[in-house]
């Protein structure tokens, strides 16, 4: 704070004269417009080339029979009908994705919120924040491979369940009853750090005056948390739930590395279904249609969240 206060006046004083010198000719407005175009064009062109064009292509592809090689032909909505009515694999992948989200989202939000509060009062809280953030900045592939070693028979979990409790651990990733839970557990471990940081920032920003007033009024413990702190943090909670929901609907890396969708189809997710339709079955049309359906689902849920937030998110302190 002190530093910025000192430098602030200096900066404006130094930079002011050149600005004046440059004005002239067609006036600052015209020049500024050119600057604006200059600065905008990379982003705008990038957006067009790398986002708008592929999105448009995906629409076109989803309406075609589009094999990776071979003849393409127009199909209309047949790809969508195939996925929704004829292809049981797709519907299973939708179910699995919802199951994953239903487990992952609440676990992640509740645990990261609890952890954030727990370490907020701790003297070494910065150390803990860094520790919990490490999984988030570790590449997902690396984490997944390590967790696979933990889960496998004779792995760490199996070993300690056996030697401490005398229990035979299930073959976590090969058993259809445990595979999804194993994936969720790994994902929560991996994803908790980011949300923890967001919540920690929100906790640090809680207005002390309001908290003190609440305490004077007798708010303690759970009541203080539910009635005062949580409502004050509601924008952060909303941000976290929305973003976490979106990423969990797009889950792919963990399941692909830990279980490759198996055993059976118990952990095939929507993105894996898109990937397999595109690059294993080589049907880019069906893959694009699947991607659009995933987009539609995410858009719908996000819209519901945005409409719902008006009732519980408070943006003013």
């Amino acid at each position: 704070m002190a530093v910025s206060e000192l430098t602030e006046p200096n900066r404006t004083a130094k930079s002011a004269p050149p600005v004046k010198q440059r004005t002239g000719g067609r006036g600052p407005r015209g020049r500024e417009r050119w600057y604006a175009y200059g600065f905008l064009s990379p982003g705008l062109i990038g957006l067009t080339v790398f986002t708008l064009f592929p999105v448009g292509m995906a629409v076109v592809m989803s309406l075609h029979e589009w094999p990776i090689f071979g003849e393409r032909s127009f199909l209309g909505i047949d790809n969508f009908r195939h996925l929704l009515a004829e292809d049981p694999t797709f519907l299973v992948s939708v179910r699995n994705t919802f199951v994953f989200t239903a487990l992952f989202l609440p676990l992640n939000v509740v645990l990261s919120l609890a952890l954030a509060f727990w370490i907020a009062n701790c003297r070494a809280r910065q150390v803990f924040r860094v520790l919990f953030f490490i999984p988030t900045i570790t590449p997902m592939v690396v984490s997944a491979v390590i967790w696979k070693l933990l889960y496998q028979p004779d792995g760490v979990f199996d070993h300690y369940l056996g030697s401490w409790f005398g229990v035979d651990a299930p073959n976590f990733l090969a058993d259809p009853d445990t595979a999804m839970f194993a994936v969720v557990a790994m994902s929560v471990w991996q994803g908790i750090g980011y949300n923890l940081i967001v919540f920690s920032a929100a906790i640090d920003a809680l207005p002390t005056s309001v908290l003190e007033a609440a305490e004077i009024d007798g708010a303690r413990g759970l009541v203080k948390f539910l009635r005062v702190q949580l409502p004050l943090m509601s924008p952060a909670v909303f941000f976290v739930t929305t973003m976490t929901m979106i990423t969990s609907m797009q889950v792919f890396t963990q399941t692909y590395i830990l279980t490759k969708g198996g055993p059976g189809d118990s952990t095939v997710t929507m993105v894996q279904n898109v990937y397999e339709n595109g690059f294993i079955s080589r049907d880019l049309g069906v893959a694009a249609a699947g991607a659009w359906l995933l987009f539609a689902v995410i858009l719908l849920i996000t819209a519901v969240q945005f409409v719902g937030q008006k009732r519980w998110v408070h943006y003013e302190h």
Binding site: F39, S41, I45, G46, V49, I68, L173, G262, L284
Partner: protein, 431 residues
């Protein structure tokens, strides 16, 4: 001045991005898969898998051989790791950018034949001679030759000599039977170790099914018949090695495609079925003495699939005559000798085979035991090749493989029966 600079930057950026967007279309002076320069010399692109600088160097030597023999032909070598190679080839094909010279694996040929030029019209009969017959046969599809062979591989049983000695179990020999295999697996199980490791990889598990009762996953005309009664019977037995006999280790997840081999090399299982292409690496990596035996004999004797890789040309290649010349050199005696000497492959040309054996013997030290392993290994390969049949998959074999990894695992853990698993795989791969 400053204004101009800003404008220039923005226009330049825009131009660069537009140029980037235009990437993918080949410019007018180039033909598909290569290019011709003004002096008439042709550069052909060659796509091949390689891992590490050594393998890349070996391939560059082959490319140099082509240029030496045909000074007007240059080879532009592009490599990708094996696991990404076929995805890359697909993606290139989708963009209309296939290389002229395509490396192909026999297993995947049915799925890629559409992209490739039949070689029968381009390569004279003499060009296909001197190879093991099984090697050329494996690279044919629907009666046409699509690639000239680089190597040849059969499946064998690798076993842990130390574990056999410790358990007092006689080592497998040529002529051993499925019953002997089962007994050995049982005797070698205990103290956290298993006698054998199950696999859901195609060649590894299907070879055992083939030898067990002659089960075949694909009909003669290339249709999947994964729920064929013989297949069900064979996989009932194979899964039973883990579920009933409790003498085999089960992959930890559907993503563990190499489970059986890694567990063997780590010493956790005493036997594994694997390809002869790993002869060198298994002997080198394992911390115990590795033995090699043929696949145990079922009612019709010891059976194995053979598989291999080779080089062909893409249908879209604009310089097919030059490509044919290049292929003849890439699979010629000199190239084969060079690859065999460096231990890269078990060569498809019979003349180059002694060089490979020499490499293996030298690599594994001069002690008589290793030399014996190498010798037995080579013999197992030869036996396998004599009795082996080329494996021909379906057009959607990649998909079948994915289904294998997902659904066979359920049979191996016992949560589904082999019949249920294979029926599901059949339904999904035929639908």
């Amino acid at each position: 001045m400053r204004l101009r600079a800003a404008q220039r930057v923005s226009i330049g950026t825009a131009a660069a991005l537009v140029a980037l967007a235009g990437c993918g279309g080949s410019s007018s002076g180039e033909g598909a898969g290569g290019s011709k320069s003004s002096d008439g010399s042709v550069t052909l692109t060659w796509q091949m898998w390689a891992s590490g600088a050594d393998e890349e160097k070996q391939l560059k030597q082959l490319a140099a051989l082509v240029h030496k023999k045909h000074p007007n032909i240059r080879i532009d070598l592009n490599t990708a790791p094996f696991k990404d190679y076929f995805t890359k080839l697909q993606t290139q094909a989708a963009g209309g950018e296939q290389p002229c010279l395509v490396s192909m694996q026999s297993l995947r040929l049915p799925g890629f034949a559409e992209l490739m030029e039949p070689l029968d019209a381009h390569v004279k009969k003499a060009g296909t001679e001197g190879f093991e017959p099984a090697a050329t046969e494996a690279l044919q599809y629907e009666g046409k030759t699509y690639a000239l062979p680089m190597d040849l591989a059969a499946m064998v049983v690798y076993y842990n000599k130390d574990a056999f000695a410790k358990a007092g179990v006689p080592e497998p020999k040529a002529g051993w039977k499925v019953a002997d295999f089962e007994k050995a697996a049982k005797s070698l199980t205990g103290q956290g170790k298993k006698g054998f490791g199950l696999s859901f990889s195609d060649l590894h598990s299907l070879t055992m099914a083939l030898t067990y009762n002659g089960a075949r996953p694909v009909t003669k005309d290339g249709k999947p018949q994964l729920d064929d009664p013989r297949m069900v019977e064979a996989y009932d037995w194979y899964a039973g090695l883990a579920t009933k006999a409790k003498s085999a280790s089960v992959p930890a997840s559907s993503s563990d495609g190499g489970w059986a081999e890694t567990q063997f090399v780590n010493g956790n299982t005493a036997m594994a079925v694997d390809g002869t292409w790993n002869l060198g690496s298994h002997i080198g990596e394992a911390k115990f003495k590795v033995g090699v035996a043929p696949i145990p004999a079922g009612p019709d004797g010891s059976k194995t699939y053979v598989a291999n890789s080779g080089f062909g040309m893409s249908k879209s290649c604009a310089y097919k005559d030059e490509a044919a010349k290049a292929l003849a050199v890439l699979t010629g005696p000199e190239a084969q000798q060079s690859l065999a000497e460096q231990g890269r492959v078990f060569p498809a040309r019979t003349d180059a085979q002694p060089a490979y054996e020499k490499f293996l013997t030298e690599q594994n030290g001069s002690d008589p035991e290793s030399a014996e392993t190498v010798e037995l290994g080579m013999k197992a390969v030869m036996d396998g090749l004599a009795g082996g049949e080329p494996f021909v998959g379906t057009e959607n074999w990649d998909q079948v493989n994915t289904l294998f990894s997902q659904y066979l695992l359920e049979a191996y853990t016992g949560s589904k029966s082999a019949k249920e698993s294979l029926t599901t795989i059949q339904q999904k791969s035929a639908g």
